[in-house]
Symmetry: C2
Subunit: 231 residues, 2 copies
DNA sequence: CCTACCGATCGGTAGG
DNA sequence: CCTACCGATCGGTAGG
């Protein structure tokens, strides 16, 4: 090997041909405040597939194209990164839920009818499945399954977003409860409905949809068929 | 401090009064092949509360009253400990399921009747809730939520036990499906039922039962009320 | 955001 | 099952 021995932590930057010193970043790589976003996406993906404790900040840095120390320029510590992933995920989920409800309401309005509670539930369920299993869906599973690694002081913000998200379900399940379509104790049954949906993260494989597997629409249909009684 | 400086990893054995050399184990502590069982229980508890990657083998050793190197006398490595926790948990769950079914069958026989599919489902659901949330219930949650940390070679044995466990559900849900009591696609609906139950690990607090919270019987009742349609 | 580094902790082992 | 230890890796930081 003709070059001087590379330092332990920079094995390849020096391999760029004929470049002297550190290579200049191209326009694609620079220009960002979205380096932070890159970190969030990389962290969400790794936290989902390997767990929080099973992922090193070095893994995350590498996945975002950074060196090992750089995540700490954007986040105070590893737990703050986790909290940011969860907040980002809940904010997106909440925004998508509101958009989905508004779109469905508007659509019903043009048809000159009001949405039934059943139709409202379908909108919520379908959106939840998309948030859990659709494209870019690493954030919410991390929130669901890595909660215990959040520091106490960081839980409140995420909890508030979660409460907002769940609040939209209450009037809908309440109406269904009163008509007898949804049975059992209201809060227990709501937890069980969420469980049925959230558990899909453990077994649903989006890649199999093309080969005859269930689509997210199929899952939503099945959810309503399974949970809602005839009235 | 009058004593010689303790080695870094043996801070307290020397504190036993007047004992020369290493203290003799008492009969309670010795006599065991159940040191292995102690390790399993400690590991199950810590893996459940902190996750596999978030638990060190030193934590486990300490919880079982051993030194840091000793778990590796009983288990080849950390993953083997995880696999053993899962196998032990599934074996117990399977045994309890079979016992519960036999007891219910025997009871029906003395009443001179056969169990309805609905009654059979209740037995399975109630047992599952006990396995998930009852006393000594750390093992199965670990299996459910730490699966990704199992090495490929160790998955088969646990999978086989899991398949046996789930096999008992198939004829029951099938009968309910045929009568129209359980709706939707059979395998999707079964997954959703499992999800509703397994998710309870995330929110159910056994300690609150005494203060007006739901009991495991309440949860079982609610599950049947929620999932089974009138026929 | 990188370089260079630190102290702590980790899984695991040899030898008894 | 303990003692004593190893190399690797970890989260995090100072200084630029």
């Amino acid at each position: 090997m003709p070059m001087s021995a590379p330092s332990l932590e920079s094995p390849d930057h020096a391999t760029a041909p004929r470049a002297r010193g550190r290579p200049r970043k191209t326009a694609d790589e620079r220009d960002d405040g979205n380096r932070r976003q890159d970190l969030l996406r990389a962290a969400a993906h790794l936290f989902r597939s390997q767990g929080f404790a099973g992922t090193s900040t070095r893994d995350i840095a590498a996945a975002a194209g950074m060196r090992s120390g750089s995540p700490f320029y954007h986040f105070e510590n590893k737990e703050a990164l986790l909290a940011a992933v969860m907040c980002e995920g809940m904010q997106r989920a909440l925004a998508r839920q509101q958009t989905a409800i508004q779109a469905a309401d508007a659509n019903a309005l043009t048809r000159g009818v009001a949405m039934t509670p059943r139709e409202r539930l379908r909108v919520l369920v379908r959106n939840q499945l998309d948030v859990l299993l659709g494209p870019d869906s690493d954030f919410i599973p991390v929130m669901l399954y890595e909660w215990r690694h959040l520091r106490e002081s960081q839980r409140e913000e995420v909890s508030r977003l979660k409460a907002d998200y769940e609040a939209a379900w209450v009037p809908v399940t309440q109406a269904l409860q009163q008509s007898g379509a949804l049975r059992g104790d209201p809060s227990l049954s709501r937890l069980m409905l969420f469980g049925a949906l959230n558990w899909s993260v453990q077994w649903y494989d989006p890649a199999r949809t093309a080969q005859g597997g269930a689509s997210l629409d199929d899952l939503a249909d099945n959810t309503l068929t399974l949970f809602l009684h005839d009235t």
